[in-house]
């Protein structure tokens, strides 16, 4: 009886949303949107690498060696002829005056910057660089690399190595291929893939929970504002109406995510250009992130519990306010909690097993977005996952109980927005 009515409500909520243009558009362009969000920063960073002005520098060499020339050659790269790197050999005594002249040239915008190579460079203490681009991290990194390679090659040759060997050693890059252990029989987890996967899942959960939570809020608000609520309540209990709405909207969310997951192999086919843009070499050799059925089910559990938690709160907000404008205001505190979770994103990526990351991934309100990220970056013991999910389930149950009471009372109150005291009274009412 009640189940049949619940089914009718769920069906209406589901069909009315899935049939809209809005749903089609978001489903079609959602993945592109996510990719853009994830990739845009690195694409922009890559663009800013290529500061053409970085070679418009004067190197003041007070070491009486060819180190300044070597640094210039490294900085200029293979196309040395076209560059404007200028090396001036200076006697240590003349250095202050020559430096002042160069700084004037920088100020007059004839030069981008000036680097001073002297005895403290060899001592490994510091090398002065005064430039208009001294705040651009990409430029400073390029200058640092050129400096390190130039000095290293000079000192290796001075120690007796022949020139090609010295250059080879100086220019060789050393990088760590960071991987994480996985269960035997599965592909190794590549750190970069894990980070990408984790960030994508977190982003997806964050956006989905807000998107569908707010959809519940708007749905409740519409029912209250158009006064259709009492018409429906004459046929079904308030709890059934609330459950039907939350389940119906949630089903829309799961449908959308299912479509995206099904489309993932397509994105995977084009992983080379996509990941290449992110600075991942040999992208074609990368495997799909290896996630087992258990991990996938855990992620779904995080989405469902996170969605239930937030959508019940959003439903209560929708029922207690009188207009959409008020609803936006009243929903702010809830959205702030989710935004707060995203603020910890960097900290969690930097140290997924750190105390901060652990605490944020345990709190039921931030766990649904942070724990999936931690899971993909490091191994989280199953018992920990189980406890966090249990904590979320309990919080969920409490929130739904309180929200249902506020919903039931608020839906038929057409006056002013209730005070906190009144809300507490509604929440206690059985």
């Amino acid at each position: 009886m009640a189940d049949r009515k619940l089914g009718i409500i769920v069906r209406r909520e589901y069909l009315e949303r899935v049939r809209t243009k809005w749903f089609v558009i978001v489903t079609a362009f959602g993945p592109l949107f996510f990719l853009a969000i994830i990739m845009l920063p690195s694409v922009l960073a890559r663009r800013s690498n290529a500061s053409a002005e970085v070679t418009n520098v004067r190197i003041l060499d007070a070491t009486a060696t060819d180190v300044g020339r070597r640094i210039a050659a490294r900085l200029a790269g293979p196309d040395a002829d076209t560059t404007r790197v200028e090396v001036v050999a200076v006697a240590p005594a003349d250095l202050p005056a020559v430096r002042e002249a160069a700084v004037t040239a920088v100020n007059d915008r004839r030069l981008q910057g000036v680097m001073v190579v002297d005895s403290s460079t060899f001592a490994g203490e510091r090398t002065l660089y005064i430039g208009r681009n001294s705040g651009a991290s990409a430029d400073v990194e390029l200058l640092t690399t050129a400096l390190r390679e130039g000095v290293l090659a000079y000192r290796l040759e001075a120690a007796g190595l022949d020139a090609p060997a010295a250059r080879d050693i100086a220019q060789r890059r050393y990088r760590i291929d960071a991987q994480r252990p996985t269960a035997p029989g599965r592909e190794r987890g590549d750190a970069m893939v894990n980070l990408l996967f984790g960030a994508s899942v977190t982003m997806l959960l964050y956006v989905s929970i807000i998107l569908y939570g707010v959809a519940v809020l708007r749905g409740v608000q519409e029912e209250k504002q158009t006064r259709v609520a009492e018409v429906v309540l004459s046929s079904v209990p308030a709890n059934t109406l609330l459950a039907g709405k939350v389940l119906g909207v949630g089903a829309v969310g799961l449908t959308q995510i299912a479509i995206w997951v099904a489309a993932a192999p397509l994105l995977f086919r084009f992983r080379a250009p996509l990941l290449g843009a992110l600075g991942v070499d040999n992208a074609t050799s990368l495997p799909l992130p290896s996630i087992g059925v258990g991990a996938a089910l855990t992620l779904v559990a995080f989405f469902i519990l996170g969605y239930l938690l937030y959508s019940s709160l959003f439903a209560a907000v929708g029922a207690m306010v009188a207009s959409e404008h008020e609803a936006q205001q009243a929903a702010q505190p809830i959205i702030m909690v989710l935004v707060a979770a995203m603020i910890f994103l960097q900290a969690v990526i930097a140290a997924p097993s750190g105390l901060t990351a652990k605490i944020v991934s345990w709190i039921p309100f931030t766990a649904p977005v942070i724990m999936p990220l931690r899971m993909s970056l490091t191994s989280v013991p199953p018992i920990e996952l189980a406890l966090v999910l249990l904590g979320m389930a309990i919080t969920c149950w409490l929130c739904i109980r309180v929200a249902a009471r506020i919903y039931r009372t608020g839906l038929l109150m057409y006056g002013k927005r209730p005070s906190l005291r009144e809300l507490a009274r509604w929440a206690r009412r059985t």
Binding site: T226, R227, V231, S234, A238
Partner: protein
């Protein structure tokens, strides 16, 4: 006589006020029953408790022979709330089918009935089928019709209308009255609440007057009017359109005969003084030489009964005897 609805000592209190205090009522099956009272009297709260939307603190309500909290009972009730509306972005047919299905009508059966109703209320004509339009595309009057169809689509045995005439245009109001009479003819029970006494007086078989959450009076309209005592109101008119010659005026000014006198453009309403007799007044008028063209003893109206029993203190702003 069977009763469609019985309120047995029902009470509902909120933190700050008493909405309904120990209300007992029996509403006969197959009648049009009015719940009357000023705004804030507890009409909507009583109806919401009857619909099991809110729970009473005390007492019990029996609906169609079963407890009002029993599941499934609301499927036999059609309810038009005072605060009413529809899903604006849904199509008319879809909304109506949704409402019918919630009442247990199968989709196919619902579609058939929707077609009949749309035709009957002029929402489906050869030129235009409004059933395929979205609710928000409809005029306010059309939306009222759709709302009304939604209330009756499952052919309920009991129809509850909370302030049904508020906001209704005259054409829809008449259509609603016709439908209420037709429902009664088919043996259905219709309950409606109103603060407009004239409507109630014309349509209801029986009424209940409540004020400040308490029942003041209930019974059939005729018994209420009879028990309100002898007619104390006389409607007078005189052959001379100006109405009052000096002699007649002197009679009407006699406070041993008349306690109150209201002079209108073509008539005079008077209230007999305590202990005075209507015949005595007529004799006095004739004796004074007034050309009486109308002399009618008027039964007290519901409005008058209401004022007499509740008193002016029970009437809040917005209360009106006419509508």
């Amino acid at each position: 006589m069977t009763h469609a609805v019985v309120f047995d000592r029902v009470a509902k209190r909120y933190e700050s006020h008493v909405a309904v205090a120990t209300l007992s009522l029996a509403i006969p099956t197959g009648t049009i029953y009015g719940i009357l009272g000023p705004n804030g009297a507890g009409k909507t709260t009583s109806i919401r408790m009857l619909m099991n939307i809110i729970a009473p603190d005390e007492g019990r309500i029996t609906v169609l022979g079963r407890d009002s909290t029993e599941s499934g009972i609301t499927d036999r009730i059609g309810y038009l709330p005072e605060e009413r509306g529809l899903y604006r972005r849904m199509r008319v047919r879809a909304v109506l089918r949704f409402l019918a299905e919630l009442k247990g009508v199968s989709a196919r059966e619902a579609d058939q009935r929707i077609d009949d109703w749309l035709l009957r209320l002029g929402l489906r004509t050869p030129e235009r089928d409004w059933g395929t339009a979205k609710v928000e595309e409809l005029s306010r009057g059309m939306q009222q019709k759709v709302q009304f169809i939604g209330t009756l689509l499952h052919d309920p045995d009991l129809v509850i209308l909370d302030e049904p005439f508020s906001g209704l245009d005259p054409i829809n109001a008449q259509a609603l009255k016709d439908a209420m009479v037709e429902l009664r003819a088919r043996g259905k029970t219709v309950i409606f609440s109103t603060h407009m006494m004239d409507n109630a007086e014309r349509m209801c078989d029986a009424v209940c007057i409540i004020a400040r959450g308490r029942k003041v009076l209930d019974g059939t309209v005729s018994s209420l009017r009879a028990s309100a005592g002898q007619a104390r109101q006389v409607a007078l008119a005189f052959a001379d359109p100006i109405g009052l010659d000096e002699n007649a005026a002197a009679v009407l000014a006699d406070r041993t005969l008349i306690s109150r006198c209201e002079v209108h453009s073509h008539s005079v309403d008077v209230e007999l003084a305590h202990g005075a007799d209507a015949q005595e007044l007529l004799r006095a008028l004739v004796h004074a030489g007034a050309a009486v063209s109308r002399f009618e003893l008027v039964q007290p109206s519901l409005h008058q009964i209401f004022l007499d029993t509740v008193g002016a203190t029970g009437v809040e702003p917005g209360m009106s005897g006419h509508g």
